[in-house]
Amino acid sequence: MLNTILRHEWRSLSADASVWIVVAVFAGAIGYGTLNGARWVAFQQEAIAEAQQEEAERYQRHQTEIVRINRENATVSAFSDPRNPDAVGRALGARYAVLPPTPVAALSVGQSDLLPYYFRMTTDAKETILAAAELENPHRLLAGRFDLAFVIIYLYPLLILALTYNVLSSEKEQGTLVLTLSQPVSLRTLVAGKVLLRFVLFMGAVGFLALMALVVGGVDLGASGVAPRLALWAVAVAVYGLFWFAAAVAVAAFGKPSATNATALAGIWLVLVVLLPSLLNISATTMYPVPSRVEMIQAMRVASDEANAEGSTLLARYYEDHPELATGDAQQAMNDFNLIRVAVGAEVERRVRPVLDRYTRQLAAQQQVVGRARVLSPAILMQDALNDISGTGTARHRRFMQQVESYHEQWRSYFVGLIFQKARLQDYAGLPRFAFEEETTAAVASRAAVSLAAIAIPTVLIAAFAYTSIRRYPLVG
């Protein structure tokens, strides 16, 4: 029975030219979106490679210079002495802390074009380092990216609705429904069969096209962690699709003409995908505004001023700014003045920390409240799920930031140690490295599962409603 319906539906759909147009448009969009994502990932990887190359070259240069200085017993300004731990920690030995894109990052650009993915680690104040950013054109950030996530979130539902809005109404309007239903087949089975075929069609198209595009875009499908993420992605696309299928069937169950269904579904899409997210966005930022960075800057300045005022003498402060202008025993002055600077730096950090902590706490609280509102729109939930799966979401980035902060601590204490020992570096092999600890697939899956469950629950409810309403479908009149 179901087989018959499926076969017949396939024949009907494939004979309809507009269906092929829809498929072609979809295919084009998926291909373009995925390739776009892949290109962005390539750009990130190039930037990372360039950074690491710069670091390697610099290290090479300085190591060679150390050998030369030692051999020639040359005098060199403390400022640029590659053996001076202060200079090394502050500039000469700077290392990059990098957030590598996941193998499937091409699936969604997410927040990765806005949030920094590498930092240059030095002994500078944490806030100075962490405020770095990419140089993207703000108009481009505003426009958003035409990536696969965009296609899935915006276009995929529209196309589902375009093929499903008249799943019953067209048969009723063309008159074949009565003949079909005078056979021993229930309306539910008929609808289920039609929807099932469309669902399979879409999933097949999306899966196949996305995989092809990923391969063309240079993604290594065999790398570790790829298969589970791709599987999650497929599940996400399936769940999101089912939501829209359920909505279409629920609207169809009312028995209104095709044109009415189309308008109703277009309206639902508009509200859930376009209106609600931007409305929620502006409500959230108005009712729960982000704590002011500007106030944070001011508070930090005040704290820093206080710490500095207690610190060194005027002279030492002066030398702090321009050690090359110091006279006398350069080495001795250097060491004392390094120590003083370290002391002052620590004091500044100590006073500034509560300000920063308060800011971070407020920010996290605000983001949490806003996060709760996302259940109102499947589009927002889908965005979250896709970002989590491709590793371009805020959660993974927050993890990166935490690791960078502890790396900063590590870096600082390493160099402070050396400075206090008045040691001299002979090579850079021991300098702390950064390696991002990727989240486990389980962690990613559980986060994505929450978003997907939030889509699945209303889907089930809507489907149940549709199931019961179909019984009252007005076959005549």
Binding site: A133, A262, R293, Q367
Partner: protein, 468 residues
């Protein structure tokens, strides 16, 4: 004749329950967006003004110290919020709000508001601009997609044409009718907008913003007229009202969602933005040129000795370290100008491509103009960055000049509040509306072109109107 038709259109629409529901919803959304915009503007503007005052106070209250220390302490520049940003926030969420003005470095503006928000931000904000650009055109589509096609399906079109109603009168009448119905929503919304603007007058300069406000209103009205013309044209040209609706919705979708993204991709492909690391490396490479610096300083020394007609540097009555610092600054400034200039040029070339993409979609020139007039596009940000940078250079000049004149080499020198006060307060005024329009001249041209083309399209489509 035209008025009769217009009146009938209006009456039909007012009686339609769906129109009433939609109109109320659209109006409510515009009120919400203006209210939210107002709150956001007042909060941020207050914060930034206070912060600007505070940073100035911190500067003036610096204890006695060497001027170069003060140069390193520096000041912050906080980006002011333009009043009309409550209509269109533009790229404000994506540009930094504060830059540290210190010696030797041109720092970037940091702390983009969008970085602190969740990913929902990328769906866009329901500002008044978004409402006018995205929601209102949809409203127009839903109101008018059936004006001709629906009448044709009902059979009344045949009767009208049979009566001898001229096609031109028909289209003009319907256009007026739709415009009147639209005005019922737009006029109250505009009044709310104007009232919101008036409420912000606690920060001075409302009168200066009037030209921009008026121009924004004109831009949007032109856009609405274009939308009405396109909708009527498509309704006349399409066979069925369903076809008209599909075409118009597809056009809306492509306009508001696809074209900007695709255009941004094209722009980036034509003129790629460098990565931060690439930029940084280039900057560092050009900044570090010890040999060049040495030669430059040597030349200066020679110049000075000639100027004071002396044989040795000791005889020169000026502290060379001040000169040296200033030379360092100026050389660095040249490098910064070259690199940042190139970077900003790249952005502006990309933005020009974005503007020309308006050939494909009428929404694009309107958005460009809206952002430009609201003072929230990249050109305005660049203008402020330039002003802040020139202020920073002014600070260095004052301080280095003081070191040159009043200090002696090898002797520790401190200056006090008298010197700090010599640095003027940072004052920035938004450029004129004319300047804003000059930056977006292509968009202006395209908007007018679209308006004319759509009116021509509507009249052509109705001229060939078939009764069935």
């Amino acid at each position: 004749m035209v008025m009769t038709i217009a009146r009938k259109e209006l009456r039909e629409m007012l009686r339609d329950g769906r129109f009433r529901a939609l109109a109320v919803t659209v109006f409510a959304l515009s009120v919400v967006s203006f209210a939210a915009g107002w709150k956001h503007y007042t909060d941020v503007e207050r914060q930034h003004l206070q912060a600007q005052e505070a940073t100035r106070a911190q500067w003036l209250n610096q204890p006695a110290k060497n001027p170069h220390s003060a140069a390193h302490y520096g000041m912050y520049a906080f980006k002011p919020k333009s009043r009309l940003s409550l209509v269109d926030t533009g790229v404000d969420p994506y540009v930094g709000v504060a830059a540290w003005l210190e010696a030797h470095k041109q720092n970037e503006f940091r702390y983009r508001p969008a970085q602190d928000r969740t990913a929902i931000q990328r769906f866009g904000e329901l500002t008044a601009a978004e409402g006018f650009l995205v929601i209102l055109p949809l409203f127009i589509v839903l109101m008018s997609f059936a004006t001709f096609a629906g009448e044709r399906e009902q059979g009344t079109l045949r009767q009208l044409l049979g009566l001898g109603v001229a096609r031109r009168d028909l289209v003009t009448g319907k256009a007026f009718g739709v415009a009147a119905a639209l005005a019922l929503v737009v006029v109250p919304a505009t009044l709310v907008g104007v009232a919101t603007l008036a409420f912000t007058s606690e920060f001075s300069g409302l009168r200066d913003d009037m030209p921009r406000a008026v121009l924004v209103a004109i831009v949007y009205l032109t856009f609405f007229a274009t939308c009405v013309a396109i909708c009527l044209g498509v309704s006349a040209w399409a066979r069925t009202s369903r076809a008209a609706l599909v075409v118009l919705l597809a056009f809306w979708f492509v306009n508001s969602l696809i074209v900007t993204r695709a255009a941004a991709d094209l722009a980036a492909w034509l003129r790629p933005t460098p990565s931060a690391i690439e930029f940084q490396r280039g900057l560092e490479r050009d900044l570090a040129a010890p040999e060049e610096m040495r030669l430059r300083l040597e030349r200066r020394r020679q110049e000075l000795m000639r100027q004071y007609n002396v044989q040795t540097m000791d005889a020169v009555p000026i502290n060379f370290s001040g000169i040296s610092l200033q030379e360092g600054e100026e050389r660095a400034n040249d490098v910064f100008d070259a690199h940042y200039g190139r970077l900003f040029e790249t952005h502006e070339a990309q933005n020009r491509t974005l503007q020309w993409a308006g050939l494909a979609a009428p929404m694009i020139p309107v958005r460009s103009l809206s952002m430009a007039l609201a003072g929230t596009d990249f050109a305005h940000h660049r203008d402020f960055v330039k002003a802040a940078e020139s202020y920073r250079r002014g600070i260095q000049r004052v301080l280095n000049d003081d070191i040159a004149r009043n200090s002696k080499p090898g002797v520790a020198y401190v200056a006090g509040p008298a010197l700090w006060a010599k640095v003027p307060e940072f004052a920035y005024t938004l450029p004129s509306a004319g300047w804003a329009l000059r930056q977006t001249a292509p968009s202006l041209l395209l908007l007018v072109a679209w308006c004319v083309a759509s009116v021509w399209f509507a009249s052509r489509a109705t001229r060939r109107l078939a009764a069935d």
